[in-house]
Amino acid sequence: MAGFGDRDELLAALKRFDPFAWERLVGDHYSRIRRFALSRRFSEVDADEIASEAFAIAARRIRSYVPDKGLDRWLAQIAWNQMLKRWAAAKAAPTIEDIDGLVGTKDEPRAAPSSGVNEGRRANAWPNLDLGLSRIRPRKYADAVVMHDINGMGYPEVAAALHLGSAEAARVYVFRGRKALKAILEKQAEDGPKC
């Protein structure tokens, strides 16, 4: 397999659909994407499907790829979108529980459908939180918050991932990380939108 000196050279070759470059990309990232799908409870067969779909979509979009987040996270984002689509499709097929939910019962009225407005507001709130997370010191508290609140891992998993020794330590780190984040966000609010 031909070598590629640096990331720019690899990217240029990917954009020309150089099969050696694509083999390199697949060799470097396919397994990671597949395991990421497995970590989200997809079967081996579905994980393969999601990974190969993600690379095919990457081939279609490679020309517009902007190297701001790294190829691994770009590929993971494409794969993640495929996973969301699969979940949405699975949800679209109504189950007995869904039908019961739509009809509602006398005691329990049907839940109001999501308007999407709040989704948009929440998405707009992200840059402030992202910046806030970046400012937490020491960094290990921010890392614990990322692992627990964003990656959705339990305290024992956070402790195992960060080699913290105990779930209690992870709980304390998350607590302190959130506390620091709250203070930063309050400061941001006081200082105004420029911060």
């Binding site: 070759a13 659909f17 694509w22 697949v26 190969s52 095919a56 081939a59 993971a76 959130r178």
Partner: protein, 222 residues
Amino acid sequence: MLKDAVSMENPLNRSLDEMRKDSQGGEREPLELEQDLVAGAELEALGQGLAEVYSASGEPPTRSALDWAFEQFQPQREVDIASAMAAISAHIERDLVKETGARSLGEMLSRARSQSGVSVAEASTLASMAEPAYRNLEMDRMPAWLAPAQGLATLCRRLGIDSDPVLRWCVVRLAAPSHSAHGRRASGQMDDAAKSEEGSRRAREDMRSKYVAWSKSFSDGF
């Protein structure tokens, strides 16, 4: 400035290794939780809000989530690159059929030529090819990378075809198994089969190298 750049370092981009280094370093601090139930409830709500905002933000998965998945979720079987490439190629082909409405590069060229009212003779002239060779290209009897790169780029521009689908069709064709090698193996002895396999592998590498040189020139023609 430097301080700002450092403080802007995003924890979403940090690898598990970097996180571990930081969590192990520094002074060991006491692990007693500050006892404040009201603050605790508020912070719990902040954590939940953070999860919701993140999932609504469209941000990619964090690097640490990917690292953790790679470490913890061992597949029952590892995938070899060749079969992964074949599966990806099948998806690319499906996408191309959907996007272009054609089942191959030749069919795509032929349709675009008809729609543009360009004759085979004109197309072959634009592509700097002899007419029979151009016909072979449209019938998928000849791979695109054997056509003159600049000429084909000129023709594609005239027909309103972007370089991207042309190159992706080429990738699909390159990933297709070599039929000639299989034919020889079926009719020959085992030794011959091994030689044929090796010959086929070399021919494939050679073909791909030719394609790489061709694709550079073809892309430059746009």
